[in-house]
Each structure stands twice: as structure tokens, then as C-alpha cells.
Symmetry: C2
Subunit: 239 residues, 2 copies
């Protein structure tokens, strides 16, 4: 599915707040008369979007896949859409079976806000130095301890903060700066801190040596700030 996360309190179900998961499960209940729990490939935060989000669930219902897509899209609010559906093998799990993901972060560098992209990009009305950002981005690729690129409270529950970043690409697209980050897995806020760090590199507030030291020491202060969730999209999931 794809979703515009602007008005949701993230993917994961919670009390007293509208979530993507709860909205989808409720539509499935209406369509198929079955209360199911869906397994999502990721837990996106409040305001974060998904261009391609994979989930799975087990059902006894024999509704055809095409009927599921059409029925769900008629029932879901217009900011969530089922893109496709297929039968999975017994035991498939959208999150545990994923081999990696690609995130996209969109930045509007124009002087004036884009009235057609409200809540869909970070408005940063300054010029970015792509050369400096690309050079620094290379240091992040590979297998590292990304503790310095993780929300502090999230670290406690983790077995390891070692992750592999496959690539960090910076592209210009229709006046927008797009940062694509792909890897085998991501810590909480990792992409938003990576983008914030690359912006600090562009501004001269951090150096490449700071990134090297951040990866070595795990010191959050050596990385940049956590940029706003509105620019972040889960773009692809690999299996």
C-alpha cells in the first residue's frame, strides 16, 4: 500500500490515536468480516509517508486478490491506497523476511513554500552543497555501529545498533532535493538524523571527521539534528 501519513499517529496501532494499522485492519474487518492482525514491514512514525509499504495477514477467506484491492480501496480513506495484493507462502512475514528497505527524504530548497506539497517535504529555503553532502555520504555506506544516528530512548531495547547502509544518493528532481538511503535495516530516526547530518555538512556545522568520530564513538552530538518527519517516505522494501 501507499499512504500519506500527515494525519496519522504513525503506522503502529495505539490507544486514543489514529494509526495506519488500525485503519487498515478495520477496513479488512468490514470487507471480509474477519478480525485480523496485519504484520507490517516497518513502523513509520507520526507524519511519515510510504510510497510502498508491505504487510501480510492470514485469512481463511477466499476473496480473490483483485477483489481485495478494489474492495479495500473503496473502503479506505483517500490517503491510504492498496497498490497490489498476492498470496504469500505459509509463514511469510512482511517484517522478518525483508532483506532491506529504501527510504526517500524530500527537501524543497525554493525560497517560498510549495502550496501543493504541504506536509510532504521539508522546506529548507537555502542552497545545499551536493558535492560536500555526497562526499560525506560515502562515509556512512557499509557496515557500522550507527548508535550516534539513533533516537536516544530507542537504543535501550536493542540487541545491536550495527546496521549496513547499502547506498546514500542525492538527486535533484523538479526543484526538490531527494536523498535516497537504502540498507538492511534502520534504527529509530536513523534516516532523519542522516539527512540532518548531511545538511549540517552542507552548512559547515559538521565535518567529515565528525562523521568518522560519530560512527566510532556513538556520540549523538557529533551527528546533525533530526529533520522533520513530513519529508520522509518509505520508498521500497526488498525481499
Amino acid at each position: 500500500m501507499s499512504y500519506n501519513g500527515a494525519r496519522y499517529h504513525g503506522y503502529q496501532i495505539q490507544n486514543n490515536a489514529e494509526s495506519i494499522q488500525q485503519t487498515v485492519e478495520s477496513a479488512i474487518k468490514t470487507l471480509m468480516g474477519e478480525a485480523v492482525t496485519i504484520n507490517g514491514c516497518s513502523r513509520t512514525d507520526t507524519g511519515v509517508h510510504a510510497k510502498e509499504f508491505v504487510f501480510n495477514f492470514k485469512t481463511e477467506n477466499n476473496i480473490p486478490c483483485s477483489g481485495f484491492v478494489k474492495g479495500m480501496n473503496a473502503l479506505l480513506p483517500t490517503d491510504i491506497a492498496i497498490l497490489s495484493c498476492e498470496e504469500a507462502e505459509e509463514g511469510f512475514h512482511a517484517r522478518f523476511d525483508s532483506k532491506g528497505k529504501e527510504y526517500l527524504y524530500r527537501i524543497n530548497c525554493a525560497d517560498v513554500r510549495d502550496v501543493f506539497a504541504e506536509n510532504l517535504a521539508l522546506h529548507y529555503p537555502y542552497k545545499l552543497d551536493y558535492e560536500k553532502m555526497r562526499s560525506a555520504a560515502r562515509l556512512l555506506c557499509g557496515t557500522h555501529d550507527f548508535a550516534a544516528f539513533c533516537k536516544a530512548e530507542a537504543k535501550e531495547h536493542l540487541v545491536t545498533t550495527i546496521r549496513t547502509v547499502y547506498s546514500v544518493e542525492i538527486k535533484e528532481n523538479g526543484g526538490y532535493t531527494e536523498v535516497y538511503v537504502s540498507g538492511d535495516g534502520f534504527l529509530h530516526n536513523m534516516v532523519r538524523i542522516i539527512v540532518g547530518t548531511l545538511i549540517y555538512i552542507s552548512e559547515g556545522k559538521r565535518t567529515e571527521q565528525d562523521i568518522v568520530n560519530a560512527l566510532e564513538t556513538g556520540d549523538r552530538e557529533l551527528a546533525g539534528k533530526t529533520v522533520a518527519p513530513c519529508g520522509l517516505y518509505l520508498n521500497k522494501v526488498f525481499y
Copy 2:
């Protein structure tokens, strides 16, 4: 300025409904302490957008143009943005001095709705026949009586329904079909009826001969339906 017209009852000021004009005039009053009436280049309908809308007003205030842009953007809601400002010659009128305009109509032809373009395009989940549409579009270019391409009630008040269409271009852009129509002036709903007619041409519901006859007779029934306002953008104004 540019604006996302989704939540407005059109450009023009009216009682008991939120309009672009009233919102802008109210921000000017707050910024400059002066009650002014702005002259807009066009009167877009409910739900119609503008990428580039020109307006002018007369003031005794000597606020610099750059201050006007920044001040207004801080005061206006996020779905309206002032793009630039310059001093005009005495007597300039954004509407009467315009030499023409270009409108853009955006169509999403993908099977599934685009969750990031709610109220920003027509969702038409079928394949369009560009060749047939382009061939028919050529018949609309030039100076014609466009009475068949005008909202019925709007015709009564007009001196003439003759207009000159400079060009009709059909482009593919990132999965969207974009129809650009430029001309010296437009009748009420004219672009939306032109696009609806080109869709009917693609579907085989109208022929090129129907267009020739529509231009000759002014018979609204020979043209296509009026497509939804959400896909329409005032794109450029010529002076």
C-alpha cells in the same frame, strides 16, 4: 502567488464562503493596516488551483517589495504563497492588461489513486489515446466561437464567445497526463470542457467532426462533459 484551491470557494470574494481574494485582502490589512481591494488576473472556480496568479493593488504604504513577500507569507495560510512582488506602472490592471493565460489540467491514469495528490488531479484509471487527442486538439486552436465550450448560464452576460486558443499540448509527466491550454482568454469552464471533450475523443464517444460541428453551431451537447475542478491549474499569465 500560488495557491492550492482545495478548501476555497474559488478566487472571488463572496458572502459566507472562504475565498482566495478575501484571505489575501485580510492578510494585506493585517500587514499594512490598509483595507485594499486587489485586482486578480482571473476568477478561478471552487477547487481550482493556481501555480502563478497575478494580482495588483494600489497603496500609499511604502513597504519594500521583499518585505511584502516575507510578511505576507508569514501571515497567509500555508495553502497560499506570495511568489514575488514588484511595483507596477500607474494604471496597471492584472486582468485587463493580460495578453493571455495558460492553464494546465492534470490527469492520473494509474489504476490506483495517488495518496499524495488528493484534490490535485483527476483520477481517470484508463489509458488515454494521445494520438487521437492531439489530432482533435489541433481543431480547437485558432480563433473560434467557443459557445459550445462554455457553461450555459455564463453565456448570457457575455458580449462575445469568440476566443483565440494559441495551443493545446498533451504531455506525459511522471505517470500523469498533463494538458496545457493557452489562449487570449477563456469562457467559464472552457478548459474543463475542452479536456472533457478530448477524453471523449479518446474513448470514441466524440469524433473530430463533432468538434468541427460544435465550433460551428455552439451546441454544448456536441462537446464532452465538464471534468472535475481539482485537476485544473492556472499555470501562467502573459503580459
